[in-house]
Amino acid sequence: MSVPPPAAVAAAGVSERLRADPGLALAVAALWLLLGLFVLYPLVMLLGRVFIDNGQFTLQGLAAVLTDRHQLQAFWNSLLLGGLVGLVGTVLGFAFAFTATRCNLPRWIVGLIDIAVLLPLVSPPFTTAIGYIFSFGPRGLITYGVLGIKGVTVYGMTSTLTAESLTYFPIAYLTLRPMLAAIDSNIEGMALSLGASRWRVFRTVTLPLLKPALANAFLLGFVESLADFGNPIVLAGNYEVLSTKIFFAVAGAQHDPGRAAALAMVLLALTLAAFWLQQRWLGRRSYVTVSGKGDGGIHANLPRPLWLGCFSFAALWIVFTLACYAIILTGGFVKDIGRGDLTPHLGHFASGFAVEWRDGAPAFVGSAWDSFFTTVEVAAVAAPLTAIVGLLSAYVITRHRFVGRRAFEFLTMVSFAIPGTVIGVSYIVAFNVAPLELTGGMAILVICFVFRNMPVGVRSGIAALAQIDRTLDEASSTLRASTVRTLSKVILPLLRPAIVATLVFSFTHAMTAVSAVIFLATAKYNLATVYIIGRVEAGEYPLAIAYSSVLIVFMLAVLLAVQKLVGESRLGRRAATELPTGL
């Protein structure tokens, strides 16, 4: 890969390094190739349908969409919903991240917060939405059962906003928590000792340092909401958004793939705009908080009222979440929750997950096992690959200058912005014939997840790297360490929280995603979510719920294991004075 020397002197040095460092050059080339193949190529195939009609370039398809009143309404609806979800999600995520990192709470309470916050993230699709209808619908436990209100309207904007915020704020939490934890306590401590009030410190020191993380949390929530399909399809009713519009255009009775592609372009433009605004807002400032100098690592104690506020908010939330999930999950253990038959019953688990001993080996005879194993396998292969591709991209974007870096960065975000249905169809169109015949196998499921979830790795990687002082890797390379060595010995250990976030997110997303893979799953490689939706459609709610609870428990176990294995980032903290003696 030939790199013309950039004008700036500093950049020239970097480009020299790129040439001198074949490992890095190859990594950039490889990432370009992968993005080109699995993001750009399907996208181009898709856009071809909008702009090319009978071999002629035309703007009619796009114009038709942009001038239609109903399509425009869906555009504004999506924008409003996405903005609100981003906002609510960021605020909620921040509140919990703050409580978890700054309240000096006992570890087990932080663990409980983690679990309560992550539950929605590890729930199979529609769980929130269906739980919402069962609680707040016309015959909901709360609206009808407790309050006795008749004929409530549950379908609409408010319900969708609530369900989406609940589903996506954990992403904000995952992005913000490590950032909050990594802020050098000395910086805040200094401001405090100079006599600033806590509010002033928070406003002028903590918040500004969190800008990249806040912007990322908002962006992720916004984009997730734009592309979300599961919640609006169940809850939005007449509040039409772009993602459901696109789904109807692809898989609807009208069958208009051209319009779907045009709408997908509109959605893409929205994401691009959000991305650009984020860049503008962040500007070219430094957000470095992790430098070569160690710090005490102990944050000043919060004033009592604030501490109480945070603590009770978190406690209430934990109780609320666990209660909600208890209600939903009871359905798996009783005969028929829909009709109020609460006799304890394990038959639903037996039909899905029965294991028999045959010839001294376990035989997995339950109907759910096949899809369960496939899903776990796909998610387990996809998660580390997502982390590698995502974080490596984040590294080259933040630390190296190369031609087309902006375009590269944008390309990493693209697949996030397109609704799964469109990705699924474009993958079929792109990879159904030789030489890239991938459909029908498991590889395409893995690839789809890697490139669909990669943006989270890139975003959290960029946010984390923005905090880490460049002098750390420069020191490493001055000492003649190669890029690979610098990466593995300096950067990676500091990136642990971002690695955890990416692994967690991509694993859970791969286990719970549905809209993209519904078109890629096959009889041989069926996925858990597709199976669950089949059960829901057949009215077998108890089995669907039983399966969901197995998935939730399984994912929580994996998440906790990942957290234990990869660990927290090991920032060099100076030993605090109040360490208990006799360690």
Binding site: A27, A30, L34, I133, N238, H255, G440, A443, F519
Partner: protein, 343 residues
């Protein structure tokens, strides 16, 4: 695939791991099987395919989709089909597939015995069942509001149903299209009159669901008071123990045939044809009763199951005219979206 691998091998270490992982994934290979997309829900399709395997020794690998999704996937894959047979689903889905040229003509042995409306003239599809629409209402809801099960289209306009009906969305569901054409039919194909009725009905509709049977469970649970569904879905809800009433409008209601078709370029055409032979014959349709699948058999030699016959007794049911529906479908659905769904 090989070109990618050789590319990847030369790349930096972490990326090489990616290539290894992809290469290790098993390829797709099958013998003496037939692959199908089923539009019938799994709990009906699975026993049918198991019976087929018992009868012929051919295993059916299948994935279930709603009709719109199945069609979208078949069209997207048309240059290299992944399955051999599209199984079940309303005839109008198949009509849309013919327009995209995805099917291969095949006339099974039963072809000559089937009534004309149960077969495509060139054998692009054949019917395997018939499925009339019905009104289904929640008995508790009826009692609370002192209502009888609706016996006329106009009964559904009763303000007691305000915001309490669920029925399918015409953008995704063939059930909805059949319903709209039923309304056109009972209004003497006077479009303005039919649309006036649908607009009048709109305030009573709580939700237009994505799939045809999507509203059955809410009605069973009482989250909705009633709706318009295919008889299989309605009787299935009743069989599961939900307290619902099934009724027919005195003006009449439409019925839609369910079909099967062979895909052009199918990898296992012979096995696929055997599945079509079997599904379009009494061999399969005699099994409906055994598995409590309340489709009306399409083959004239298959007896209607007595309890299903009892439900249908006295009901006024008419087939939807395929030529008329085919010619007006897109326009009527567009008008429905513009005037009824989003006025």
């Amino acid at each position: 695939m090989n070109t990618i691998r050789s590319w990847l091998r030369r790349m930096a270490q972490p990326v090489a791991a990616l290539a290894v992982a992809f290469a290790a994934l098993p390829a797709f290979a099958q013998a003496q099987t037939v692959n199908a997309y089923s539009i019938w829900p799994e709990n009906w399709a699975r026993p049918m395919f198991e019976e087929f395997e018992k009868a012929t020794g051919i295993k059916v690998n299948f994935v279930r989709f709603s009709s719109g999704e199945a069609l979208a996937r078949v069209i997207a894959e048309k240059n290299n089909p992944r399955v051999d047979v599209l199984f079940g689903g309303p005839v109008e889905t198949f009509a849309a597939g013919i327009a995209e040229g995805v099917f291969e003509s095949y006339k099974p042995p039963s072809f000559g015995k089937l009534p004309e409306r149960f077969r495509h003239a060139d054998g692009q599809w054949v019917a395997i069942a018939d499925d009339p629409l019905v009104f289904m209402t929640n008995n508790k809801f009826l009692k609370e509001n002192n209502l009888q099960p609706p016996a006329s289209w106009n009964d559904l306009l009763n303000p007691a149903y305000k915001n309490m009906l669920q029925m399918a969305d015409a953008r995704t569901s063939g059930t909805a299209v059949t319903r709209i054409f039923s309304i056109l039919e009972v209004n003497g194909r006077d479009e303005n009159k039919a649309f006036a009725y649908m607009k009048q009905l709109r305030p009573n509709v709580q939700l237009y669901t994505k799939s045809g049977g999507g509203g059955t469970l809410p009605v069973g649970l009482g989250q909705a008071g009633g709706g318009i569904f295919f008889i299989v879905d309605a009787l299935d809800t009743k069989a599961k123990g939900y307290d619902v009433a099934v009724s027919f409008p005195k003006e009449g209601i439409g019925t839609a045939a369910e079909a099967i078709a062979l895909l052009k370029g199918a990898k296992n055409p012979e096995a696929g044809k055997k599945l079509i032979d079997w599904a379009s014959s009494p061999a399969m349709q005699n099994q409906f009763a055994k598995y409590k699948i309340n489709f009306v058999p399409a083959h004239p030699e298959v007896q209607l199951e007595p309890s299903l016959a009892a439900v249908l007794q006295g009901a006024k049911i008419f087939p939807i005219d395929a030529a008329y529906a085919g010619a007006n479908r897109k326009r009527v659905v567009d008008r429905w979206i513009a005037e009824v769904l989003n006025p």
